[in-house]
């Protein structure tokens, strides 16, 4: 057993940036020449060329007509055969929705357990991931025989570590054709669709006031609406607010909503679970108002007020209005 496999994911015919981050994470486990980048699908030539230019050790194309569209059954069957063939010590994935859909099953099929959503890798293959909605970090180690499966959190590793490898001669590309039969694929996926045209573009907003569970009741939303109006800001929310139907889904910031990077992001009553943080941590200035001083939102905030939002928010609105 040797080598590190990194399973790359594409979107729209290009390797996704989260996949380069997974590759950057793999560089913490071994040198570039020990890394094999894997592209998978029905047509992988262009993806393989893109990966080969990054200067990894090798590139493998796992190609079969039944690998498009994506199905968990197809990917598990194909990658299991690849892993049996390659015998890697580690397999690294980007922690995407697609990986969450198949990688745990693939690992289980090999008698393994995926260390998912990893945010850091330390010497000796110690993997850090978050617990309790980001309130705690936990260190994990793989202890069994067989390959160690790891997926990396979006934004946790810097994709440009991979760019530094470029310039070395392109990696050799080989093709692996798995044995797949249509009868192995039990689900029938439809085309991706959107619910409705977006009417709010949070991505271009300069200021955003965002509200979370701390607001407690729908009728309390007026408080944050007033603050947003006073600041000339767009109103946004964390997932639970949109789940409850208090604000439309298109105002949701986070991994399942929009990614924003305004000048000012003011988070009201948002604890800061990672699913939310990935959607806003690129903001220029982050302000958090929360009653819990240990809320993870304060880990990324520039300014914070620890207190009761029902007192702080009206005071803020008043101050902004008075200054006008």
């Amino acid at each position: 057993m040797s080598g590190i496999l990194v399973i790359l994911e594409e979107r729209g015919g290009r390797i996704r940036s989260s996949s380069w981050e997974a590759l950057a994470a793999a560089l913490k486990l071994g040198p570039a020449q020990d890394i094999t980048a894997v592209v998978i699908g029905a047509q992988t030539a262009a993806l393989a060329a893109e990966a080969a230019a990054k200067g990894v050790g090798k590139v493998v194309r796992v190609e079969h007509p039944l690998l498009a569209p994506y199905t968990a059954d197809g990917y598990c069957a194909a990658l299991e055969q690849l892993l049996q063939n390659q015998g890697p010590t580690q397999v690294v994935f980007p922690h995407t929705y697609q990986v969450r859909d198949y990688a745990p099953a693939l690992a289980a099929r090999m008698g393994q357990s995926l260390i998912g959503d990893v945010v850091a890798i330390e010497d000796g293959a110690v993997f850090t991931r978050q617990l309790m909605q980001g309130r705690l970090n936990a260190n994990y180690r793989h202890s069994g025989n067989g390959p160690c499966f790891v997926s990396t959190q979006a934004g946790a590793f810097r994709a440009d570590a991979v760019d530094a490898l470029a310039g070395a001669s392109p990696a050799t590309i080989t093709t692996f054709t798995p044995n797949l039969d249509a009868s192995q694929i039990r689900t029938e996926p439809g085309e991706p669709f959107r619910e409705a045209a977006q009417t709010v573009d949070l991505g271009s907003a300069q200021r955003i006031v965002s509200v979370g569970r701390g607001i407690k009741e729908e009728q309390n939303l007026g408080l944050v609406k007033d603050l947003a109006a006073a600041l000339g800001a767009e109103l946004a929310a964390s997932r639970p607010i949109c789940d409850n139907g208090w604000l439309p889904m298109e105002r949701q910031v986070g991994s399942s909503g929009q990614t924003v990077a305004p000048k000012l992001y003011l988070a009201v009553g948002i604890s800061g679970a990672i699913q939310h943080l990935v959607g806003m941590k690129g903001s220029q200035c982050i302000v958090a108002i929360n009653k819990d001083p240990d809320a993870p939102i304060f880990e990324v905030a520039d300014y914070g007020i620890v207190g009761d939002l029902f007192e702080v928010v009206p005071a803020l609105t008043e101050t902004v209005k008075a200054a006008k």
Partner: protein, 256 residues
């Protein structure tokens, strides 16, 4: 349609989190517990499917004695009966070990559908349902917002990233992991709470299920996360803090 819903009891969201001596888990003393929210959505979807198509909803949960409280909540909301896998080592099992327990409890039930939340709010691996499907040899789909029974099986609405969705057709039996927000959660009624007391709650131990626990992945140490930024906390009364913040945003951060 017979539906098993796998539910986890997790620390209440607002409960203070303290690291236990030894640094391998949190201090559970005086902790408040709650039903994992995505699992509550799985239960709700199961109850709605039963109301539409008939059948039975079986709540399943693994954990120590205290888990019974969450199981009774599921029964009060409308589950017909429940199975508790009593085990005290849930925290040291890896995802594969937990899924083995649940799969062993599910198998003899031969359900048409297994539903669970997409992830737990405590450990958050988001793998249990997927691995259980693999162990049971059933097809699965994740991040599901809605389930519709069809002649051939089910049609599910799956959430993709960045506001995209997808429909998937799949045969039964199957395992689905539910995303939150696909429907509204119900509250237990007084009548429901009363009835729950008369419903069957079967208890099995991990040993009786024969699901081995030797982990391949070990949690070595937990710690408070390091701050990524140094946050300036603005002290004082709400009024004072508000005034100080606006001043900082204008003159220091220059974003107003």
């Amino acid at each position: 349609m017979k539906i098993v819903v796998a539910i986890k009891q997790v620390p209440d969201r607002d409960a203070p989190v303290r690291i236990a001596p030894g640094g391998k888990w949190i201090d559970e003393t005086d902790l408040q517990w709650a039903m994992n929210e995505p699992d509550a959505y799985a239960l709700e979807e199961a109850l709605q499917l039963k109301e539409k198509n008939g059948g039975e909803v079986v709540a399943l949960s693994a954990g120590p004695e205290r888990t019974g409280q969450t199981i009774r909540e599921a029964l009060a909301k409308g589950a017909d009966r429940a199975i508790q896998v009593v085990c005290d080592d849930l925290g040291t099992r890896d995802a594969l070990g937990v899924a083995k327990l649940l799969a062993a409890a599910i198998k003899p039930e031969n359900p048409d559908l297994v539903l669970t939340g997409l992830q737990s709010e405590d450990i958050g691996l988001g793998q249990t349902g997927v691995i259980a499907a693999e162990l049971l040899g059933l097809p699965h789909a994740t991040l599901i917002l809605h389930v519709e029974k069809t002649d051939a099986g089910v049609t599910v609405k799956r959430e993709l990233e960045e506001g995209w969705f997808q429909s998937i057709e799949m045969p039964l039996p199957a395992v689905l992991t539910m995303q939150s927000g696909g429907t509204k959660l119900r509250y237990a009624t007084l009548m429901g709470i009363k009835r729950a007391k008369t419903k069957e709650l079967k208890s099995v131990t991990a040993a009786e299920l024969g699901a081995d626990a030797a982990p391949v992945v070990v949690l070595e140490q937990i710690a408070l996360p390091k701050k990524q930024k140094s946050t300036q906390i603005l002290p004082g009364s709400p009024k004072e803090a508000a005034a100080a913040l606006i001043e900082k945003l204008k003159t220091e951060a220059r974003v107003l």
